[in-house]
Symmetry: C4
């Protein structure tokens, strides 16, 4: 059982509390309106296990138990300590983890990501911005492309598109007409990446309006 | 007396506390500025009874007793436990409940709803947006029309317009030059629908500015 | 001494606490950035006495004593219980009170008021908006003009312009390149009027951007 | 040891607490997203010593010890009481202090500063705005230029550009593609200057969109 932490309820709940607090923080920014979006954290690698926020609840009011342990396909793991129904998107969270090795995934519905995804269906280009350092890129003379992929209700199709479009240098993807996926080594890095990418999108949207 | 809950003050007050807390939440988002807007919840079906937030008070500072029990016409029910004057719009809340079977109604004054209502007097069309799932519509290949109706101070006229324009697939209506009505089976669903519709309106307004 | 309340420190401080709390509320909305703006409340009519927030302090961090009693010309009243320096604009608060009979005056620096004042130097016209009822106007078929006056550092000049431009039907004036003055019978009504006028200005600015 | 305050841990920590609280305030405004930006306060003049917020941490969650004492070149001072790694930008904070005599420096990443810096690479001109008094300028008939300098990762190059572009009448500089530097005699004045300059930039951006 070494390497997994989902066998004991207390530890699940404690990680659940961290996920709930992080969700409340994003909800307060207005990025998870109408119960939208979901967050996950990896709790074991072999086999792959994630805790994902439960579906259908206000993301500003989750409790430590409003999380669901899921496997590498995003299916609920029977018998684990926490309750709730995983979102269908849990499968995409697991896919992101398998593709990138991330330890945490953030999915939010921001106006800027959807507005910019509609304007740049082929990908959103950023360059010469100090903020790019926050996702590990250069602040000078480097063209950084945030991929935009088409939306789908089939998580396999969506996952294939994400895999194909993935920019190994950028920890995020915009899903057109839908929202933003970002990730990081842990919840802290995933938060930083989310804030940086959203800031970049808000800047581009402000630029766009002035053109 | 079975089926109604307005006869005993404690239960009225307790539901009043929930309404007040919900109003404070919307007020904090800036959607109830200048004491505008009102919220209601159904407390009995036969005869129809609603609790509606009192008129003329700051919606961020309501107490559990700042609600008014009203009947199917939106008239204050004499002798019930809570105080305050119902807004004239209480009649429209009751009409929405009779038309849709909703258990809770939210009316807010948002800039995006009035700005988009002015731009699209014939109704606001959304399509291919994941967020549409939050009001029970499809995220793909479905044209979803949020009705826009003309404003009136005559609640019968306004109610007739709402009845005529009502889209049975969409739990909301924009009143031109006025604001947004949304509803749901209970306060939680009404909140979700409100947040989803407002998000859609903010997105369209952002799109509009870039055109 | 009847009719004045500035002779006893406790009552001054208590009204000061209400002013400080109200200022903190407006500051949290971002309308009093960089210590800008000031609020006042009438404490006596004969002779005229107002309490005005002190100059140069962060409006989100005022204490109950960070207010100054002033006379009908906006000069500090010697010997009264509260400390601090009145803003030069205290004279304009007093002038507004003398002109309108208001019991409280709010002056804030909002981006929307300055942006719209620059676009409409002859006055900002609103019509057919439910929100107009919040300042006592009709929601239909009435043209409501919010005056815009030129800025000045001479409070007599500014007061003369305000007196000349004053619309007796509208409890507010935009000072070009400066900000917004609003007033009401008491602090509660002044808050409501401020929120309503700012909402109207934000709507017009949103409309303007889409043109 | 007279004249320095970095030798004793308690005093360092207490000033650290003030820096952390100030950073949390700016973070809550959304101006320090993704751990960006940094704040400093002068703790000694001879030799020059500053406390700078530590690099790589969420600026809304700093503790009193998440600050680093640095010297006139922005290098960490060994043996002092607080922990953490100084940002490379600490050298620019120290340079600003040497150039201007400031007692506190604020560096934030705001969307408005980067958007306006891109539009006005030669400097951003403001005039006839009351808010200019908040940075010590006139509200009438004075053209006030906020300098814009090119970004660089070499703090000597960036410091030279800042020195060359510095407007002695304006306590701030925009770094293109990067963010905003502002300063004041102490943390309070630096906060006021930051809020005033950011307000001016937000106004210009709003004006820009309407053109």
């Amino acid at each position: 059982m070494t390497g997994t932490v989902t066998t004991g309820a207390p530890r699940t709940v404690s990680r659940g509390g961290a996920l709930a607090a992080e969700a409340a923080r994003f909800a307060a920014l207005g990025w998870m309106r109408g119960t939208s979006g979901n967050l996950s954290v990896v709790t074991g690698r072999d086999p792959l296990r994630l805790l994902v926020t439960a579906s259908g609840l206000d993301k500003g009011e989750l409790g430590a138990r409003d999380v669901v342990p899921v496997d590498a396909e995003g299916r609920a793991v029977p018998g684990a300590g926490a309750a709730g129904k995983p979102s269908a998107e849990a499968a995409l969270h697991a896919r992101v983890v398998r593709l990138t090795g991330a330890g945490a995934v953030v999915h939010v519905h921001t106006v800027a990501s959807v507005a910019m995804g509609r304007r740049r269906p082929g990908g959103i280009v950023f360059r010469d911005l100090e903020m790019l350092k926050g996702i590990g890129r250069s602040a000078h003379d480097e063209e950084v492309v945030l991929p935009v992929i088409g939306n789908s209700q089939d998580m396999r199709v969506l996952g294939d598109r994400l895999e194909e479009a993935l920019n190994p240098l950028v920890p995020g993807v915009v899903v057109a007409g839908h929202g933003l996926y970002t990730w990081g080594a842990d919840l802290g890095e995933a938060r930083r990446h989310t804030e940086v990418v959203e800031w970049l999108l808000e800047l581009e949207l402000a630029e766009e309006r002035g053109r």
